[in-house]
C-alpha cells in the first residue's frame, strides 16, 4: 500500500454494525482503503459484502459505526447526497434507465453533474453531446448509442452502468460484482477497462467479486468477509497463502 501518508484514507470504516431482525449482516466491520488503492472484497454468499456496499453508498443506514469518505464523516446521508461526495456505485444487477437509449443514459449521467439539472434550456443538453460521445467511446459503446438499453446485452448494460458512474467524476468507486453473469472474455475485457480507467484517473476502487481470477488479476489488496465480519485482509499472495481463508472460501463454495 503506497498511499500518501499525509492525506486521509479514501475510505475509513470503523465498527460498522447492521442487523436485519436477528440476522447480523455486518458485525463490527473495520476497513481502511487508501487513496488510489484497488481493493477487492470477497467472501461466501451472505457474508455481508453487498450490505457493506449498500451502507457505504447510503442506501442502508447502519445500526452503529462510522464511515468516513476522504476524511468526511457520513451520517445518515441519502444515496444522492453520498453520490455528491464523490462516491460512485454500480449494482450487482446492472441498474440503468432501460427505456432510454444508451446515449440518453450517458446524457443523464452528464446532466446529473452539470449543475444545471433543473434547467429548461435544451441547448444545455446539446452542449453535452460531444462529451457524452467521448465517454461512450471510452467504454466502447459508441456504436450502440442509439439502441434502447432494454435491447442491448447484459454485459453491455454493465459496461454502460460503469460508464455512467465514471461520468459523474467520482473519486471512490464501489462496484458490486462488476462482472457478474458475464462470459469469460467479456469479464476480462470489462475488468481491464475498469483497471485502465481507475489507474489513469487515480481513483480508489473497492469492488465485490466472486471470480477469483478477476480478483487476483485486479486487486492490490483483498478483504475477506465471512458472517458479516472481516475475516482476513492482506495482499493477494498473503490471502492466497492463508489456509483459513482457503478453508472457508477458496476451498469451499468458491463460486456461487
Amino acid at each position: 500500500m503506497n498511499g500518501d501518508a499525509r492525506s486521509q484514507p479514501a475510505l475509513k470504516v470503523r465498527g460498522l454494525h447492521k442487523e436485519f431482525g436477528r440476522f447480523v449482516a455486518l458485525d463490527s466491520v473495520d476497513l481502511t482503503v487508501d487513496e488510489g488503492e484497488i481493493r477487492a472484497i470477497i467472501g461466501p454468499n451472505g457474508a455481508g459484502k453487498t450490505t457493506l456496499i449498500n451502507v457505504l453508498s447510503g442506501q442502508i443506514v447502519a445500526d452503529r459505526g462510522s464511515v468516513e469518505v476522504a476524511g468526511r464523516r457520513l451520517s445518515r446521508q441519502h444515496p444522492h447526497q453520498v453520490a455528491k461526495l464523490g462516491v460512485g456505485r454500480t449494482y450487482q444487477i446492472s441498474s440503468t434507465l432501460r427505456r432510454m437509449t444508451v446515449f440518453d443514459n450517458m446524457l443523464c449521467a452528464h446532466n446529473a453533474v452539470s449543475g444545471h439539472w433543473f434547467s429548461l434550456r435544451a441547448g444545455r443538453l446539446r452542449a453535452m453531446e460531444d462529451a457524452v460521445l467521448a465517454d461512450l467511446k471510452t467504454i466502447e459503446l459508441d456504436g450502440l448509442a442509439d439502441r434502447v438499453v432494454d435491447d442491448i446485452s447484459h454485459g453491455d448494460r454493465k459496461r454502460l452502468e460503469f460508464g455512467m458512474v465514471l461520468a459523474t467524476r467520482p473519486k471512490l468507486l464501489l462496484l458490486d460484482e462488476p462482472t457478474a453473469g458475464m462470459g469469460l472474455r467479456e469479464r476480462h475485457e470489462l475488468i481491464d477497462l475498469v483497471l485502465a480507467v481507475t489507474r489513469e484517473r487515480g481513483l480508489t476502487l473497492v469492488f465485490v467479486e466472486h471470480d477469483i481470477d478477476v480478483v487476483f488479476k485486479a486487486a492490490q489488496s483483498i478483504t475477506v468477509m465471512a458472517l458479516g465480519g472481516v475475516f482476513a485482509e492482506g495482499k493477494p499472495d498473503e490471502i492466497a497463502a492463508n489456509s483459513a481463508v482457503q478453508d472457508i472460501y477458496l476451498g469451499g463454495n468458491a463460486r456461487c
Binding site: 444522492h80 453520490a83 456505485r89 441498474s95 443523464c108 429548461l120 435544451a122 456504436g143
Partner: protein
C-alpha cells in the same frame, strides 16, 4: 443480436444532432392550422366537442408528465383540474378579482395545492403514493362539496364569468387553441430539457438516479407541481368554457377520465395525452349521443389496448410514421 467489438464501438459514428429536444415547428403549425380551420367550419355541436378535446388534451398531457415520465401515479388529479376552475370562481366571487386576474389565479391555486399535497405524496412510493393522492383528492372533494358558504356545495358556482367570455364558440375555440398549444409546447420544453431528463431518470430508476446524485423526492415534487399547474390551466379553461364550476370537477370521474386517456393514448410517449383526449372525448361527445352504454365500449377498448398494444395510439402513430419514413 450480434455482439462484439465491431458493433459496440464504431469509430465512424459522427457526432449527430439529436433532434428529439427540438420542437418541429412544421408539425405544430400544421396541427394548429388544421384545428383552426376545423373550428371555423364546424357546426356548433362539433365546435363544443373540439374545445373539450383541446382542454382535455392539455389536462391529460399534464397528467402524462407524471404517469409516463416521473414514475408517479395520481389517483386524484382532477383536484388540480377542478381547483383551477374553483380558483378562478372564488377569486372573483370572494376576493373581487377582475376576470383577467382570476384567470391567472386559477392555475396558481392548482399549483399551490400541487405543492402542498405533493410534499406529502412524494414521501411515499408506488401504490402507497397513489393511495395518498387519492386521500388528498377525496378530502378536497369533501371540503368543496360541503363548504356550502364558500363553494356553493353541490350547486357549485356560476355567473362569475361570462360563458366562453361572451365570445362566439369558434372564437373561444381559437382562444383555447392558442392557450393549449402554448401550454403543451411548454410541457414539451419541460420534458425535453435537462430538468425533463432528470425527471425521466428518476421516474425510470430512482436508485440509479440517486447514485448519479438526484434526490427522488425533490425531483418528483417539481414534476408534481408542474403537472398540477398545467392541469389547473386546463381546469380554468373548462370553467370559462362552461361559465360555472361544480364539485364534480374535482371528483373521481374526471380523474379516471384522465388516466384512461393517457393509457389509451399510449404510456411513455409525449403525445399520449393528446391522442387519448382526441379519441376518448370524441367517443364521449359523439358516441354517448347514440349509445347509452358507451362506457362499455371504452372499457373494451382499454382492455384491448392493455393486452394487445400497450403503446396505445401513440405506438400506432409511430408505426405508421415509420412505415412512411417520417419521424414523429
Amino acid at each position: 443480436m450480434a455482439r462484439g467489438e465491431g458493433t459496440r464501438s464504431n469509430p465512424e459514428t459522427a457526432p449527430r444532432r439529436r433532434d428529439a429536444y427540438s420542437i418541429d415547428w412544421r408539425v405544430v403549425a400544421a396541427v394548429v392550422l388544421l384545428q383552426a380551420i376545423l373550428l371555423a367550419v364546424s357546426p356548433p355541436l362539433l365546435v363544443f366537442a373540439l374545445i373539450e378535446v383541446m382542454i382535455f388534451a392539455l389536462y391529460a398531457s399534464a397528467l402524462n408528465l407524471l404517469l409516463s415520465f416521473s414514475g408517479m401515479v395520481s389517483f386524484g388529479h382532477a383536484v388540480y383540474f377542478g381547483l383551477g376552475a374553483y380558483g378562478l370562481a372564488l377569486s372573483i366571487t370572494h376576493f373581487d378579482f377582475p376576470i383577467a386576474l382570476g384567470i391567472v389565479a386559477g392555475p396558481l391555486v392548482a399549483a399551490f395545492f400541487g405543492l402542498v399535497y405533493g410534499i406529502l405524496c412524494v414521501q411515499l412510493t408506488a401504490i402507497y403514493a397513489a393511495m395518498l393522492t387519492l386521500a388528498c383528492a377525496e378530502v378536497t372533494y369533501a371540503v368543496v362539496f360541503q363548504w356550502f358558504d364558500v363553494t356553493g356545495g353541490d350547486s357549485g358556482i356560476s355567473g362569475h364569468v361570462p360563458t366562453m367570455l361572451g365570445l362566439a364558440p369558434y372564437q373561444f375555440g381559437l382562444v383555447v387553441l392558442c392557450v393549449v398549444t402554448v401550454a403543451i409546447l411548454m410541457l414539451w420544453r419541460v420534458v425535453y430539457s435537462p430538468l425533463g431528463l432528470t425527471i425521466r431518470a428518476v421516474g425510470q430508476n430512482p436508485a440509479r438516479a440517486a447514485a448519479l446524485g438526484h434526490g427522488r423526492k425533490s425531483v418528483q415534487l417539481i414534476a408534481f407541481v408542474i403537472s398540477a399547474f398545467f392541469s389547473g390551466v386546463a381546469g380554468t379553461l373548462f370553467g370559462i368554457f362552461h361559465g360555472n364550476v361544480f364539485p364534480d370537477y374535482v371528483g373521481v370521474l374526471f380523474t379516471v377520465d384522465g388516466l384512461l386517456m393517457v393509457v389509451l393514448g399510449g404510456l411513455y410517449s409525449f403525445g399520449a395525452g393528446i391522442y387519448g383526449a382526441i379519441v376518448y372525448k370524441l367517443l364521449d361527445n359523439l358516441a354517448a349521443h347514440y349509445f347509452q352504454y358507451w362506457q362499455l365500449v371504452v372499457g373494451v377498448i382499454i382492455v384491448v389496448v392493455v393486452l394487445v398494444s400497450p403503446s396505445g395510439i401513440a405506438g400506432l402513430v409511430r408505426r405508421v410514421a415509420n412505415r412512411f419514413g417520417g419521424r414523429l
